[in-house]
Amino acid sequence: MRELLRRYQFLLLAIILLLITVILYSYNLRHKTATTFFERAILTFAAPFQVGVDGIVDNVTDVWGNYLWLVDAQKRNLELEQENLELHSQLQQVEEISLQNERLRKLLAFVDDLDRPALPAQVIGEDGSNWARTIIIDKGTRAGLYSGLAVVSAQGVVGRIMKTAPDSSRVLLITDASSALAALIQRTRTRGVARGLGAKLSIEYALRDSDIQIGDLLVTSGMGGVFPKGLPLGLVESVEKDQYGLFQQVTATPTTDFSHLEEVMVIVGEDQ
């Protein structure tokens, strides 16, 4: 027996370890919204680095902008160059602030319409894989956030918080394949489930006879209680009907541009 164990020790070790990891994964699938100590530690450790990178990128962009301007200005008088450089730098800062103000104003107006208290947050990181769609924001349990809260942008729904650390949280985007939320076509009130497809959304369980046109606005249905009713999700991009089958195949483009997401709002309260 001992000889047999020694002979197959690699195989046995491999099988046992594999079983343990699969059980761990299955366990965590059941406890999706719970943030483990390890995850909290990694998120806490990563947050300052991600905030730092975010700041560095902003500064490098500014410096690069100034440098490009400087190359062009070399032909001019030195005094004028200096003065212009300062003015240009100030102007850039003002432009950046005004753009940020504009974005935040839109966000606030959007949240005002919701009639629910919301907390602004900055996007500081993205998912490291190519298949999952999550982002990291700079607010966490210290700001009162917890798993399950809805996250929106001025353009529409972003996703929901799934893991939290003291100063950061991970948000599952609506375009992630594991995200599914109740939705309806605004024009015809046709119901369906919006599931993430990476860059697009697929609207599942939309009945074959329902009237859905390209360009129709897809909004949240309010079912499930996470997202308020009527928030924009996407615009219908394609509609296909098979000869047979109960449902039609509908895809939509999200209204939120996830590649340029900088500020978001976390809806923290109930209907006022």
Partner: protein
């Protein structure tokens, strides 16, 4: 032991880069998986117990920054480490082109395993529509970045004058399987 901690530290840096710096320059399909490259290298250069422990830790770190659940990358990297170890017994892993081929194979295996786990255990079959079309881009980008990392590694070795050839692979010939 020092080498083991260096691997872990490098893995943490790679994980942070993948979640904060690389998304600024690469779209998701063209974003390299630096941790996978490190795991494959680890499978060839470290002894089995250390390679397994490091892969479990690096998998947990990647799980904390990618995807929705803890455990997926832990399991996937464990399979990759074990497969690498089995393969390394049969192949001449000292050859850099072969190592790059191994990285292409590892990328393919990783995507297949993630697809399998997410479909069978998490019931998120739509992920296959995201995962599989991106495999060629993932292979190309991982091989490209592995080439750069290997080149840098060999340069550093020459600079410090030890372990000529592929870093760690001479170490492997001494400690492999222990």
């Amino acid at each position: 032991m020092k080498g083991f901690f260096l691997f872990l530290f490098t893995g943490i840096v790679f994980a942070l880069l993948q979640s904060s710096v690389l998304p600024l320059f690469f779209s998701p399909n063209w974003r390299p998986n630096l941790i996978l490259i490190l795991i494959l290298y680890l499978g060839l250069s470290e002894n089995l117990p250390r390679a397994i422990i490091a892969s479990l830790l690096l998998g947990a770190i990647q799980d904390s920054l990618c995807g929705p659940n803890l455990g997926l990358y832990i399991s996937v990297y464990l399979v990759i480490i074990l497969a690498t170890r089995v393969l390394s017994d049969q192949l001449n892993v000292e050859s850099p082109p072969l190592l790059l081929l191994l990285i292409a194979g590892g990328t393919l295996l990783q995507n297949l395993l993630i697809g399998f786990y997410l479909t069978v255990f998490a019931a998120t079959a739509p992920v296959l529509q995201i995962l599989f079309p991106a495999i060629p881009q993932q292979i190309m980008t991982n091989v490209f970045f592995a080439t750069i990392l290997l080149f840098l590694l060999l340069r550093f070795q020459r600079l410090f004058g030890y372990r000529s050839g592929l870093a760690g692979l001479i170490y492997q010939s001494k400690h492999h399987g222990t």
